[in-house]
């Protein structure tokens, strides 16, 4: 069973969003996604300052088997890519909601986050597509 923390928001493409006290959000991929991809071996994160649209590919995660795009759940400006993943992409497997975060974003509209799936909606989505 996948781990779906209560306090996060989610997308149907298996990204999570975590609001931070400073108004920024962290974005990563869910436990379900890391499990489906298998061992991750390479990660490409965006540069600070880049503007991304909702649904735009903003990072790449590659497992032993295949490359997958990560889509920005909401529009905004990239504040930081997680540089720590370059030498340790396996952190996404071991700690997808913690050290495995991919990027920090400044949302264009704070209200966009609340419009994403909450934990129970995402958990239901996972069950329905299992």
């Amino acid at each position: 069973m996948s781990n779906v923390p209560q306090e996060l928001r989610y997308t149907k493409t298996h990204e999570w969003v975590k609001p931070l006290p400073d108004g920024g959000v962290l974005i990563g991929i869910t436990d379900h996604a890391q499990h489906a991809l298998g061992d991750l071996v390479f990660v490409e994160v965006p540069e600070a300052g880049r503007s991304v649209a909702a649904g735009e590919a903003c990072a790449v995660v590659e497992s032993v088997k295949a490359a997958s795009d990560v889509y920005s759940p909401i529009p905004g400006e990239v504040l930081e890519g997680n540089a720590g993943l370059a030498d340790a992409p396996e952190k996404i497997n071991s700690d997808p909601y913690g050290e495995g975060w991919l990027l920090k974003l400044k949302p264009a509209n704070a209200a966009d986050v609340a419009a994403l799936l909450d934990a129970s909606a995402y958990a239901r989505f996972l069950e329905a597509t299992a």
Binding site: G38, D39, F42, V64
Partner: protein, 365 residues
């Protein structure tokens, strides 16, 4: 209708992620493909390769038939038990399949062919065998385990009676022998597809689960086809359907060494290969080591000073912690190429496979 091996239920019970592989439900990994890969390089792992198909050929003229059928020459099989790797070609010199042939005795040779090609292989072999009066018997009653790694042979012989274990441990590389009861023998061969030492064992399907459990209890790690792919690619071994197919000749996919042309032997495809040699082989296979960050994958475009080519297999190499690939490129002398990786041109160095053998890198990083 998906096909399943005799070990399907065992894989599911052990938590395998099961995927479709050429019509077969096969384990991709049991949790971590990387750990399975390292287990084979450092210790021992077991793969269910029962989707591959053993084929027994029997008859007085079997050797003569195989000299016609295969691009490699079974005249090289002198001692009983000896194995030979060969391509089976069509009249255009294209690879119908690659296979291993074991010399059991003069009236009995055993082939092991790939899963995805087994049906067309059998149809082709039967048609070719008819004039020679050779009986072709598909051995779907057998399961096949590959036990691979530096400690694989010592662990695997625990499955055998003491005298059989001793005989198995005495096998030289690329030799196999029957062991166990005459009624339901096992065939144990010192062959594999990982670049490590080990055995491939063919045994009655009903005995496969028991053997699997005993291996695992003895410390052999269950490994899926994901690790099998990264291991074979590091070992510079071709995968049928990716690195070669019916439109590729052995000369174009790094397998010229398996084609025996010296003896005046009219094997299927020989004329086409001679014509291609005379005209100049238009493509060759090379190994690539990515110098930039990223991962090489199959079908990515390769840009060389002599024109464009294509990656046929690419992966992250767990042993080298770099990306490696096999590619088909125009002939020429160049030591670096560009690869189009998701829209960006990255630099890769041309190297001669294998990349890894017996746990160690064999290319300069």
């Amino acid at each position: 209708m998906q096909k399943r091996t005799p070990l399907y239920d065992v894989h599911v019970a052990q938590g395998a992620r099961v995927v479709d592989f050429g019509g077969w439900d096969m384990p991709l990994h049991y949790g971590s493909q990387l750990e399975e890969h390292h287990a084979v390089r450092r210790d021992a792992g077991v793969f269910d390769v029962s989707h591959m198909c053993p084929v027994d050929l029997e008859g007085e003229r079997t050797r003569e038939f195989l000299r016609h059928l295969l691009a490699n020459d079974v005249v090289r099989l002198v001692e009983p038990g000896k194995a030979l790797y060969s391509c089976m070609l069509n009249e255009r010199g294209g690879v119908i399949d690659d296979l291993i042939v074991y010399f059991v005795r003069e009236t009995h040779f055993r082939l092991v062919v790939n899963a995805g090609t087994a049906e067309k292989d059998l149809a082709w072999i039967r048609a070719q065998a008819q004039p020679y009066g050779v009986a072709v018997r598909e051995r779907r009653d057998l399961a096949m385990l590959a036990v691979q790694g530096p400690n694989a042979r010592n662990r695997a012989v625990a499955l055998l009676a003491p005298a059989d274990a001793e005989a198995a441990l005495r096998l030289d590389g690329f030799f196999g022998r029957f062991v166990g009861s005459a009624a339901a023998p096992w065939f144990v061969a010192r062959t594999g597809y990982t670049g490590e030492d080990g055995f491939e064992i063919m045994l009655p399907a009903a005995e496969a689960a028991g053997a699997w459990h005993r291996l695992v209890e003895g410390g052999v790690r269950p490994c899926g086809l994901g690790a099998r792919d990264t291991l074979r690619l590091e070992a510079g071994m071709n995968l049928y359907g990716s690195d070669m197919d019916e439109n590729v000749t052995p000369l174009e996919c790094g397998l010229a060494w398996t084609v025996a042309m010296k003896a005046p032997r009219p094997f299927v495809g020989r004329g086409a290969l001679e014509a291609q040699k005379a005209a100049g082989v238009p493509r060759r296979q090379v190994g690539l080591l990515l110098e930039d960050k990223g991962v090489l994958r199959g079908h990515q475009k390769v840009v060389t000073p002599a024109g464009e080519g294509e990656i046929t297999s690419g992966t992250y190499s767990p042993t080298l912690e770099r990306s490696v690939a096999l590619a088909r490129v125009p002939p020429g002398t160049y030591d670096r190429v560009q690869v189009d990786v998701r829209g960006r041109l990255l630099t890769a160095r041309v190297v001669k496979p294998p990349f890894v053998r017996y746990g160690q890198p064999v290319i300069d990083l």
